[in-house]
């Protein structure tokens, strides 16, 4: 933790590995949030059906 982070360099892009990993995790989390099913309140839906 006290040492310098490894850096990745492609052309004009210069980014540390921890930052790159963090951005990748955030993108992954965003995609999962879009496609993962959201738990619904089944009891609430049953009430709706009864109405």
């Amino acid at each position: 933790m006290n040492g310098p982070a490894p850096y990745l360099h492609w052309g004009f892009i210069l980014i540390s590995l921890p930052n790159l990993i963090l951005i990748a995790v955030m993108v992954l989390l965003f995609v999962v949030a879009l496609i993962a099913p959201f738990p619904h309140n089944r009891a609430k839906h049953r009430d709706d059906d009864d109405e």
């Binding site: 965003f30 949030a33 709706d48």
Partner: protein, 244 residues
């Protein structure tokens, strides 16, 4: 002693002009309804009915994990504020030398990381969903201001760690801030100024703007997904409509 005890009748105190008990002042004809208090009341009545500020139902399209990012950001902010209060109360010697101080210092640091991560995810969700549609531009702009204030607040937090790291950051940031012309009023080497901004001014501004942001979202309702055929009329809220 209440009026029912007879105090009012024995002293013959004239009752001030106004509505009868149990009726609204605004319901009475001929009542002077001018002034800024009446204007604010009318505005709040029209824009923020309690059914929309504290709804029990949300539209079906809100059932997505994308809409959780905003509230997780608020949860992280609560942890930031609580741990920050503890750190401010105990002082830098405590958070640098004691194990409990390290613990709260870490909570403060990592809750800030979570705050920024989920705020950016919330921003992505609102950006790609065009969350400024249907009269929500002000909500979007308050969010932008919140994002900018958060960055400066986090920056001042790095500056007041009271360690070599903060000194190194301040020395480098000095040149950057000076190059913008703001160095005269925002001196990153002035610890007292940075400390006051970090623990007082910006957290208060941030908290108030977050409350405003939430009220704005509640008053307009969550924006409908792009392509949804339903187009609300001006002023109509969709926050309490329930599953459609």
């Amino acid at each position: 002693m209440s009026e029912a005890s007879g105090l009012g009748s024995s002293r013959e105190v004239p009752r001030p002009a106004g509505p009868a008990p149990g009726t609204s002042r605004t319901d009475s004809p001929g009542v002077d309804d001018r002034g800024w208090t009446a204007a604010v009341r009318r505005r709040l009545d029209g824009r923020l009915p309690l059914e929309e500020v504290l709804p029990t139902r949300q539209p079906a399209f809100v059932g997505s994990w994308v809409y959780v990012f905003g509230v997780v950001t608020i949860a992280a902010l609560v942890w930031v504020l609580v741990s920050g209060c503890v750190l401010a109360f105990m002082g830098s010697a405590w958070w640098h030398t004691s194990s409990l101080g390290h613990f709260f210092n870490s909570i403060h640091f990592w809750s800030v990381q979570m705050f920024f991560i989920f705020m950016v995810l919330h921003l992505w969700g609102q950006y790609w969903g065009a969350g400024w549609r249907d009269g929500r531009a002000k909500t979007w702009m308050v969010g932008v201001v919140l994002f900018l204030i958060s960055i400066v607040t986090a920056f001042t937090g790095y500056l007041i760690q009271q360690n070599f790291d903060s000194q190194w950051i301040a020395l480098n940031a000095k040149d950057a801030v000076n190059s913008t012309g703001l160095g005269g009023i925002f001196n990153v080497l002035n610890f007292g100024q940075m400390y006051g901004i970090h623990v007082m001014l910006f957290p208060i501004a941030l908290t108030l703007l977050v409350v405003l942001h939430i009220v704005q979202v509640r008053s307009r309702g969550v924006v409908r997904p792009i392509g949804d055929p339903y187009v609300p009329d001006s002023g109509e809220s969709v926050s309490t409509g329930g599953p459609r």
